[in-house]
Each structure stands twice: as structure tokens, then as C-alpha cells.
């Protein structure tokens, strides 16, 4: 399963939301609540094997499926490089 599919499946199972747009803001559209963001960050760390630094915790990285997928891809690239 690709990164986007893994994240989508986690969100579906954990936040009881069936379908959502790739670019939809998690927080502003209410897909995920504030405590849910903590779970999402933990999921990313556990699943993709890196620690999320404080400065990475910005909406540009975490606020939608598209932005999160891009962030994870970029982190992984940097890890393997």
C-alpha cells in the first residue's frame, strides 16, 4: 500500500469518516479534531519510522492527505539519501 492509501485507511478507521478529498483541511473541515492530530502524528512516526520535529508540525505538512503524503515522501527521500 502506498503512503496516501495507508494514511487514508488510518483516518477512515480512526475518525469514522468514510470519504474525503485529498486536499481537504483535516482541522478546518473537522475531519480530525485536535486530539486526533496527536494520534495522526504518532501514527506517522510509528508507520513511517521517523520522528516528527517540532518545526515540522505545521499545517503545510499535516493538514491534508495531499500535504501529509508529500511531507512523508520528502522525509523518506532525505532518510535514504
Amino acid at each position: 500500500m502506498g503512503i496516501a492509501e495507508q494514511v487514508r485507511s488510518f483516518i477512515r478507521e480512526s475518525f469514522f469518516v468514510e470519504d474525503f478529498e485529498e486536499g481537504a483541511s483535516f482541522l478546518r473541515t473537522g475531519i480530525i479534531d485536535s486530539m486526533g492530530m496527536l494520534q495522526l502524528v504518532a501514527f506517522v512516526e510509528d508507520t513511517f519510522g521517523f520522528d516528527v520535529a517540532d518545526e515540522d508540525l505545521v499545517p503545510a505538512n499535516f493538514d491534508s492527505l495531499a500535504s501529509l503524503t508529500a511531507y512523508v515522501e520528502q522525509k523518506r527521500k532525505r532518510q535514504t539519501a
Binding site: 478546518r28 479534531d33 486526533g36 492530530m37 502524528v41 517540532d54 499545517p59
Partner: protein
């Protein structure tokens, strides 16, 4: 407190016909409220109306029987609650009315006979009553200002039926029970149905501070009092003067609420409000005050240390009742039966346990501290609103929303970014004058629970907007008030009246025949606090500033300085996983979820699985499982009209006059 029930009917049927036609229904209604009034159940069939009363005898044990009729005019009342200033009113009326008992019921009756509807303004109390005037054939229904005593009504073929709890309307055959799904969605999002609604189709809740008049088939409702928090009412004055006034008023509110012909005890949570009440009550009654508290096996919800400090300082006869998550889950079915609502928190359930402990010791009355957080601004909601208003003045600021991390300690961890904080608390920040500004964030959290609904039901409710429905019930002047005043009005109408006093208050107390008395909701105190400048309630981020200063003279510093510790009762571990109660296992199974049709079996299964795998569920998941479980219980328990036990029905003494 007591239970009341009744209904109007047409025709001037002969006495024995009235008994046969309407007696059995009235007896079942009254019997259905026996838990509220175990001391006596009586019914009276008059020409045109049936009135029933289940009595919890507290004042004038010998003479206070109801229904009570005025021999001159025939005016008849059934009354649930207390008129705390009954002695003063009796003195005022004594020259014009010949009293036959010492009861506050007769003071209410005399006030209505002599003053008509204007009598309501003179009452200091907590009440729900029905009064029948045979001269005009009008039925009056009224509830107290804050909404402490409940009252429901339904339009029927015979006119109007009413009862303290909806179950009596079902038992009497006045209404067939059916859930109101609009109310269900409102409860998920807002914690209670919007004012005026109940959880059931065809059953309306008489709003607090409202008088209903039913005459010639016409029903009219009017608010006889309202909370006035307008800026113009604020009195600048000195803080010391305001403090002395509030202290004196609160002391008097406590003193009036200790009036009873039976012992009055108190709930002691260990927080500021109940501790202050207990200290004031202790100084009125001297030694021997009994106090009761809950303790939780999970220490992060427990306040036993603060309770111990207070018991030591006051020397009360204290009793603790302990619960754990499994016990909370075991209590939920009875909590739903009594509260007659879907619950988004399990917190009412332990209070059922507590009132049971009070009843077991033969105590019928307790003082309790609800209302202080609304009236004196104790909740985080007020701070959150203040910070978000401050931020709204400069929406681009990254520093202003960071203040929110000081309110919610968990935010200080992660998400650690100010930008994420802005996304969480940002919705609505561009409309600071919005009537619902203070509550939008939590309504959004509630609305998130709607995704658990079955798709067909969700589709049928798609046009509903619970928040807008609520805002539409607010009087127009509220929109002109300052933000924290608007927040208080919303909080008192929704959280306090719709949930705290109702599902978590009256119902959990009266389930075990215990009356709660609420000094912080004395209307004189509510009105005085409404005239305080904001900074005496919320000073910076210090909540209940003025009350805290009063408390310092009454209770140990360690307790007076405590931060607000929200009362919560986790239940998830008793609802899912290895420790789940048997009823929860059954009602949360996919088959039962599908059969009931309210929730989506797939989503519920995901929720159950997630909770079973986690040791520390989030608040929103914990709330979701309580909502689903209690929604299932509500549907199951009210699928058909339950009949009270035959013996209870036969115990109702019926009289025809």
C-alpha cells in the same frame, strides 16, 4: 421535590364516570413518578382536569398533601419543588388569606389566588407546578427561572397532558413513545435538545422561566423572567462592596435552602463552590452537617484529597461513595431510563450512585454547587472566549492564539505549533460578533459525532442545523451583549438547563427520592452577579475571581486556590473490550446496531475496535461510545410504553370532586 402529572378533558362528566374513564390513566401516570415521591401518591379528578401528585414530604409533613384546593375559588395546584421564601410570603398574605397548613404548597396556592400570574415574580424557589382554575377553566403550567424542576407536556385529543417526566405521559397512554431524531442530532451536537424539545416526538419541554396557559384549547407560552446581562446593567462600584453583597446574598441563599422539616445534607466535591456552600451551611446548622462525595478508582478523575481537607476543616459527618469504570457502565441503563436523553458523557451515572447512598441513610435533601461556574464564570469556555476575542482583534497574530495553550495543558505538548493551534481554535475568528462565537468550537466537536449515524438517518437529517436551531431560540437582545455575556446566556440555556440540571441533576437525584437545592441559582444572586463588571468574574485568566475572594474567608487556602477541576466520569473500559458490561456488549453488537437503525454498524465497529485496542481513549472517542451506548438504551427502553407495577398503580389514592 415530587412528581406531578395530569391532563385536561372535555365535558362535564358525572363524578363516577370521571373515575372510570380517567381514573386509571391518572393512576398510572402518578405511579410512574413514584420514585420522585415515594411518601404518598394521590390523584384528583375534577370537572375538566385530572391532577396527580407523588410526594416527597419535606415541609409540613402532616399538612402538605396534594393536590391542594382552595375552598373559596376551587383553584387547585399540584406542585413539585420548594418555595424557599414561603414564611415571608405567608406573612405578607396572612391578612388576606386563611391558611390551613404550614406548607409552602399552600403559600403558592394563596399567591396564585390573590395575585394571579404576577405571583411568579414573588417566588424565590425551584418549582414546576400546574394550577387549575375552575372559574376560567384555565390550566397554568410554570417552571422556575433556572430550570431546576422539569415539566413536559403534550397536545392530546382531550386537550393538554403534562408530567414531570415523559415516561408518565407514556404510562398514561397520553402519548405513544417514539424518538425525535431531530432532538437526537441536536443532543449529539449540543449535549441536549434545543429548548422546548424533548427526546420524544410529540412531547415538548416547558422551557425554564416560562409560564404556559391552556384555555379554550389555546396554549400560550411566555417568559415571565429572563437573564439580563446587558452592558447597561453593569454597576462599576467598588470590588469590596460587590464582594460583601455577593457574600451576604449567597449566605442568605444557603440559609433559605436549609429550611425543611427534615435534615438537610450537602454534596461536597472538594471544589471551590461546594466547599464554600458546605462551610456556610456548617456555620448555620452548627455541628452534625452530613456531607457526601464521589471518589474514582482512577485517581486522575478523583478529588478525595481536597474532600479530606474540607471534611477536616469543617468536621462534617462525611461519607464517600467510590466508583470505577465498570460501575459507571453498570449504572448507565438506569441513568438513561431516568434522564430520558441520549448522553454524550457518562458523568450523570455516578450521581445516581451518590443519591442512592444519600437515600440509604434516610436523607431527603442535599445542597449542591451547580450554577456557580455559569453565574461567576468558572468554565474554561469563558477563558477560551476571552482569548479568542482578543485574537479576533488581530486575526493575523501568531502570538495571541498561543495563549490558548495556557488553558489546555495538553496543548502545551503537541501539536506544538502555533499554526496548528490557529487551525483548531480559528474557526469563526473572523466573525467576533457572531451570536454563537463562544460555542462554535465545541459545537463542531459535537457535530463530528453525527458521522456515527446510520446513512439513511443522516440523510433524512441533512437539512437540520442544530446550532442554528438553538440560536433561533435566543431573545433578540442577547446579540447586543458583550461576548462573555452572550456566552453565559448560551451556557445557562443549553449546558445548565438542558443537561446539568436535568440529565445530571434532577433526574439522578429524584431517581432515588433525593431533592437537590442550588444556592448559586437563587435568582437574586444570578441577578446580582449579572451586574458585576467582567473583571470581577474573569480576571485575566483567573476564573471566578470574586467568588474565590469570598471563599478565602470561609475555606482553607489550599481549596480556595484550587483551579477548576472538571467533574468527569470515564466509562469506555466498562463499555467495550474485556471489561465490558453484558448489556453494552449486546447493544453495541453489529446486529443490535443494525436492528435499532440509529447508528452505522460499520462506524460503530471501528469505534469499538479502536477503543478496545487503546488504554487511553481521547475525550471524543470516549464521548462517542457513551453516545452510541446510551442512544441504543434510549431506543430500547422507550420502544414501548412501560407500565408501572400494578401495586404502585393501586397505591395511588384517587379522589373525585
Amino acid at each position: 421535590m415530587c412528581g406531578i402529572a395530569g391532563f385536561t378533558f372535555e365535558s362535564a362528566a358525572a363524578a363516577d364516570e370521571r373515575r372510570t374513564r380517567f381514573g386509571p390513566s391518572l393512576a398510572r401516570m402518578t405511579a410512574a413518578l413514584r420514585h420522585r415521591g415515594p411518601d404518598a401518591q394521590r390523584g384528583l379528578l375534577l370537572d375538566g382536569v385530572a391532577l396527580g401528585h407523588a410526594r416527597l414530604a419535606i415541609v409540613d409533613l402532616a399538612g402538605g398533601a396534594q393536590p391542594m384546593r382552595d375552598p373559596e375559588t376551587g383553584m387547585t395546584v399540584v406542585f413539585n419543588g420548594e418555595i424557599f421564601n414561603h414564611r415571608e410570603l405567608r406573612e405578607e398574605l396572612a391578612g388576606r388569606y386563611r391558611f390551613r397548613t404550614r406548607s409552602d404548597t399552600e403559600v403558592l396556592l394563596a399567591s396564585l389566588v390573590l395575585r394571579g400570574e404576577a405571583a411568579l415574580h414573588t417566588l424565590n424557589g425551584q418549582f414546576a407546578f400546574a394550577a387549575w382554575d375552575p372559574r376560567t377553566r384555565a390550566l397554568l403550567l410554570a417552571r422556575d427561572r433556572a430550570g431546576i424542576c422539569p415539566l413536559y407536556f403534550a397536545r392530546t385529543a382531550g386537550g393538554l397532558a403534562f408530567a414531570s417526566e415523559a415516561k408518565a405521559l407514556f404510562a398514561g397512554g397520553q402519548v405513544a413513545p417514539a424518538l425525535d431524531f431531530t432532538a437526537l442530532a441536536q443532543t449529539l451536537e449540543l449535549w441536549s435538545p434545543v429548548e422546548g424539545r424533548s427526546a420524544f416526538a410529540g412531547v415538548e419541554a416547558l422551557p425554564p422561566r416560562t409560564l404556559a396557559r391552556f384555555q379554550d384549547g389555546e396554549l400560550t407560552l411566555r417568559r415571565y423572567w429572563d437573564l439580563d446581562l446587558s452592558d447597561a446593567r453593569v454597576e462599576p462600584g467598588s470590588a469590596a462592596h460587590a464582594e460583601a453583597e455577593v457574600e451576604a446574598l449567597l449566605g442568605d441563599a444557603v440559609r433559605l435552602r436549609l429550611r425543611a422539616d427534615v435534615p438537610v445534607a450537602a454534596y461536597l466535591s472538594g471544589g471551590l463552590d461546594s466547599s464554600l456552600l458546605c462551610a456556610m451551611a456548617r456555620s448555620e446548622v452548627g455541628g452534625g452537617l452530613r456531607t457526601y462525595s464521589l471518589t474514582f478508582a482512577d485517581r486522575s478523575y478523583d478529588e478525595r484529597d481536597a474532600q479530606g481537607t474540607m471534611v477536616g476543616a469543617l468536621g462534617t459527618r462525611h461519607r464517600q461513595s467510590g466508583v470505577d469504570q465498570r460501575a459507571v457502565a453498570e449504572l448507565l441503563p438506569r441513568a438513561v431510563w431516568h434522564s430520558e436523553q441520549l448522553l454524550v458523557r457518562a458523568a450523570p451515572a455516578p450521581l445516581l450512585h451518590l443519591s442512592g447512598a444519600v437515600q440509604a441513610e434516610g436523607i431527603k435533601v442535599v445542597l449542591t454547587g451547580e450554577g456557580a461556574d455559569e453565574v461567576f464564570w468558572g468554565y474554561d469556555l469563558y477563558k477560551e472566549t476571552a482569548v479568542r476575542q482578543f485574537w479576533a482583534r488581530s486575526p493575523g497574530s501568531r502570538l495571541r492564539p498561543a495563549l490558548l495553550a495556557r488553558l489546555y495543558p495538553w496543548l502545551a505538548g503537541a501539536p506544538r505549533s502555533a499554526a496548528l493551534l490557529a487551525d483548531i481554535f480559528g474557526p469563526g475568528i473572523d466573525s467576533p460578533t457572531d451570536l454563537g462565537f463562544s460555542h462554535r468550537i465545541r459545537w463542531r466537536a459535537g457535530a463530528r459525532q453525527l458521522r456515527l449515524l446510520a446513512p439513511e438517518l443522516a440523510a433524512s437529517l441533512a437539512h437540520e442545523d442544530p446550532a442554528e436551531a438553538l440560536l433561533a431560540t435566543l431573545p433578540p437582545q442577547v446579540s447586543g451583549w458583550r461576548p462573555l455575556a452572550r456566552a453565559q446566556y448560551l451556557e445557562m440555556q443549553t449546558f445548565l438547563a438542558g443537561y446539568l440540571l436535568c440529565a445530571q441533576g434532577d433526574r439522578m437525584l429524584l431517581a432515588n427520592g433525593v431533592e437537590g437545592r442550588f444556592p448559586f441559582l437563587d435568582h437574586r444572586l444570578i441577578e446580582r452577579a449579572a451586574r458585576l463588571p467582567d473583571r470581577l468574574k474573569l480576571a485575566g485568566l483567573c476564573e471566578k475571581k470574586l467568588l474565590r475572594r469570598v471563599a478565602q474567608r470561609w475555606i482553607p487556602q489550599a481549596v480556595a486556590a484550587r483551579q477548576k477541576f472538571p467533574y468527569r466520569a470515564p466509562a469506555a473500559a466498562g463499555l467495550v473490550g474485556a471489561g465490558a458490561a453484558a448489556w453494552a456488549r449486546e447493544l453495541l453488537s453489529p446486529e443490535e446496531i443494525r436492528r435499532t437503525g440509529i447508528f452505522d454498524p460499520v462506524q460503530v465497529q471501528r469505534l469499538v475496535k479502536k477503543l478496545a485496542e487503546s488504554d487511553c481513549p481521547t475525550e471524543s472517542d470516549g464521548s462517542a461510545v457513551v453516545a452510541v451506548a446510551t442512544g441504543q438504551l434510549l431506543a430500547q427502553q422507550f420502544a414501548t410504553a412501560a407500565c408501572p407495577p400494578e401495586a404502585a398503580v393501586e397505591a395511588v389514592a384517587l379522589e373525585v370532586a
